[in-house]
Symmetry: C2
Subunit: 307 residues, 2 copies
């Protein structure tokens, strides 16, 4: 970073299990820049969070006072940097007033970690997605419908009157990674690619008979052995079986509701295709922009609070 | 092995993906001894099968002629020692006449690998279990019902009039291993133990709503975080969810039929508890004895054939 680069007024951080994403922010408007790092919560001991952060913002520290940092995500988990609470739904997304203020060794840092959300029954938790929901509501405060946040642990959140009413988590992304990378199915699957027809067929199949999933999985291996099932088709069918099973389980969330999908392009498109085949008409929004908007909203609250 | 040990007349081998089990057999009656090895098919290249076998039977080779070896299992797969065919169901379990005779370098070995079974729709395959079924039918030739063979890839086989009519494979054991060992759930699960109440509750829950499985899994993690779910209870519930999902998918196999469960004690008991709660009254049989009886039946066919 050159010495003439503009200094950020604050730092926005999405600190997840496997990745850390950091934006240098001006008072308002677009980020000055964005840093991606693989120093996710899962790779760090508690003592390592502050040095990792200091390393990333060393040129941004003010000579006097402190640099405000607002974090969301797994940095606030029990195994993370400093435990942030869960707010029980129904609840508006957490505000900065409910954040954990981290005890840092450096006096130049003022770090806030936003809470997650929890649900008593069925038991469920989120850390990070609540900030995406906050960001979404900052641009569409009157939204009434369901947000679908695909990923390692996909979330479906029913949002109404500015609150998260209820939500559910599905281990779809993690199951796909384990089955495609480490189970016997790995011998039959391409490492990338999506064949829309195979994908959609598998979604329709499992949604019409979701209780058959446990048997449908091994059929991919058997078809590969018996009739040389194409490896891209097999990968697409695995994706379709798992996403279809999720849609079947989440039906009460999306049926008859406005649906917004937030995610990376590839996986979000797969959900869009699957939902469209069910007669739903989901909108797509940019997941990263939602996160950043949620962190922006928290910073705006902090300034209001302080002023 | 001491020089005075009785020499086997033939060798029975169950050569699976992860393990090899070998019995030194007299002409009739009980095995002289039994060897377990971790030199399963998955760890061997094609050239390594014969040396591994020779090493295990080096004291048993006759000065003239050859030692008969009858194998079942993954040694007959495409990635195995020598590919054995699949017989399409409906079919009686394979006989020795349908086995692959392996081209060995050593003239002292005569190795037969028994075929597997395949099913066109839904696509499915088995290698090894067909020999267990053959062994079971050798003692109960008039059995009409379903055999449940729990394991890494659990099988349900509908058997009638001496034939396997149809069968289905479920990846239950492999899913349990991946989820308990490598997913986010690993933080919440004990490494052993089964709490019958938690297990049965999860079976009943998922069977009443099998489409909810994808969401029920993450609830284990959430309950662990939110209310300190006991780690043995969590492990038992994961087992119950996966076995319950399998029972829901396999309902057309076991409902109203005689059920025989063949397996190792722990996992077979879990299936028995789960099925009993559904009003079924399964019998338990010894899986290893079934395998050995199947290999014995093949050897008897070979002698009949040769005589």
């Amino acid at each position: 970073m050159s010495v003439s680069a503009p200094r950020p007024e604050w730092i926005a951080v999405d600190w997840g299990t496997s990745h850390l994403r950091l934006w240098r922010m001006p008072r308002s408007g677009v980020a000055l820049d964005r840093t991606d790092s693989d120093k996710g919560m899962g790779r760090l001991t508690r003592d390592q969070f502050e040095p990792v952060l200091l390393d990333l913002v060393q040129n941004d520290l003010p000579a006097e006072g402190h640099l405000t940092v607002i974090c969301c995500g797994m940095a606030g988990s029990r195994q993370g940097w400093s435990e942030a609470r869960y707010l029980a739904v129904p609840s508006a997304p957490p505000s900065i007033a409910q954040a954990t203020h981290v005890q840092t060794r450096s006096p130049s840092l003022s770090v806030h970690i936003l809470p997650g959300l929890s649900q008593a029954s069925p038991a469920d938790v989120m850390r990070g997605e609540e900030t995406q929901i906050s960001g979404f509501l900052s641009t569409e405060p009157d939204f009434d419908g369901v947000l679908c946040l695909p990923g390692t642990h996909s979330k479906w959140a029913h949002v109404s009157a500015g609150e998260v009413v209820s939500f559910r988590t599905f281990m779809t992304g993690e199951l796909f990674a384990l089955l495609s990378g480490q189970s016997v199915l790995r011998h039959s699957l391409a490492s990338s690619g999506l064949d829309p027809e195979s994908f959609s067929g598998a979604v329709a199949h499992v949604m019409s008979r979701p209780e058959g999933l446990a048997g449908d999985l091994f059929s991919l291996r058997a078809e590969s052995l018996l009739s040389g099932l194409d490896a891209t088709a097999a990968r697409s069918r695995l994706s379709g079986l798992l996403i279809g099973a999720e849609l079947a389980a989440a039906r009460s969330y999306w049926l008859g509701r406005d649906i917004v999908i937030a995610g990376e392009s590839g996986i979000a498109s797969a959900y869009q295709i699957a939902l469209a085949a069910q007669g739903a008409d989901p909108r797509m929004v940019d997941a990263e922009e939602m996160t950043l908007n949620g962190l922006r909203a928290a910073y705006a609250q902090l300034r209001e609070h302080a002023l």
